[in-house]
Symmetry: C2
Subunit: 248 residues, 2 copies
């Protein structure tokens, strides 16, 4: 059966994260229900990765298998009609049948949004953090994240992984007119990792930790050494990359 | 009594516009209640102008008279504490006692936001309009708005004004990554004017009207000749300007 990649966006506020679970509404469940409805068959979707409760996605690629009889444009149009306003279907592209949305992803990017004064416009989509921070200090500390490191200090404690090794290719703070944004790219992320990184870097920005403290925290491989995780509602999964040769 | 300008922002979704009215919640009422609470005296605020139900403001200046005993920073902090999340107090500055937030404004700027595909992220803050439009054609037509004209064709019919003359100093469409934005600046605006302009310019962008039709509509001074008003939720009052010598 042909396999397709579908890119979706969602506002995570009303969902208990991406992954299906009993007794809680998730993005995966709502998407599967919508697709099964318009394709008139039970469809399973596999995401590029989980997002936690309240976390948003600008681009979450998912794969599904189906003998499409409609055009891709028709499917997107109908799917957006049945999906709620907080989930949007953006594009569909056929891939080789063995390609997997999770295992074949080569890079993932997240952005964390902070507003430093009260704003009416970012409800549940930006973290209001009013302390003064030194962005240059945070950027200097963040440079220590680049490359392959064991990031156990920034991983949720109760997690089942074989390794805490991740290779970070970008970790930078930048400011727009209204917001402070942390962008981070890596081959993989551990559970709660971006939110723990942001919380710890904010401690550097406020002068509670030095850049050397930050290096020591990475090397400690101990979650209790790092700062508090910032709340989920400022976090967006923004991009997931695959090799170009996955597409048909 | 000293007079102050207070700049506020608000998301208009939950309000029946700016101006106080019986039996409906308005931004002015909520702001006055909040200020009266923290200043422990009844305070009246006068805005730079009205905004309609559902319209937002990035910068709405208001004036009020009071013998301040707290610092401006304290007032902003306390005011933001009592105001709901969808109204933010941004700055306070003392002005000469005779300065008026509405009558002394020299320029007002609005932006209208359009998303051309479904998005989870702009709830009530952008108009989803999925037809293809030619932005260059819309910009060519918009240039005819510049200067002083009678804009009765773009004014709500039931309105009490002495004149429909407005001087428009900027009228331009531009695109960001995700949105199409119309920015317009003028010394004054008529009721419903920006939304009627945007609706009519979109008709130009879709090819339903030519640039010459647009000129004819301006000259007709007849609301029935112009296009439909676009919905209020894409509209933001973004800036209000005053002469520099109003401040103390």
């Amino acid at each position: 059966m042909p396999r397709f990649f579908l890119d979706i966006s969602y506002k995570g506020t009303n969902y208990h994260g991406w992954q299906i679970q009993p007794n809680a509404l998730t993005v995966q469940e709502v998407l599967q229900d919508g697709m099964s409805k318009i394709l008139k068959n039970k469809v399973e979707v596999v995401g590029s990765g989980r997002t936690d409760t309240g976390v948003h996605a600008v681009q979450q690629p998912v794969h599904f298998d189906f003998d499409l009889e409609m055009s891709k444009e028709d499917i997107l149009h109908k799917l957006n009609g049945v999906l709620p306003q907080d989930i949007a279907a953006n594009s569909i592209r056929e891939v080789k049948p063995e390609v997997h949305a999770r295992f074949d992803a080569t890079e993932r990017a997240y952005q964390y949004f902070i507003n430093q004064s009260k704003s009416p416009f970012y409800e549940n989509q930006s973290y209001q953090y009013t302390f003064d921070v030194d962005v240059q200090l945070m950027n200097e500390a963040a440079q220590n994240l680049l490359g392959e490191h064991d990031f156990e200090s920034f991983s949720k404690v109760k997690t089942e992984v074989n390794t805490f090794l991740c290779t970070i290719s970008k970790a930078v703070w930048f400011a727009t007119d209204k917001q402070l944004i942390f962008e981070v790219r890596a081959n993989r992320f551990l559970r709660g990792m971006v939110r723990a990184l942001v919380g710890t870097l904010l401690d550097v920005g406020r002068g509670k930790l030095t850049a050397q403290d930050f290096v020591n925290i990475i090397e400690a491989k101990d979650r209790s050494k790092a700062g508090r995780a910032v709340p989920p509602h400022g976090l967006f999964l923004t991009e997931v990359h695959y090799p170009e040769d996955i597409y048909l």
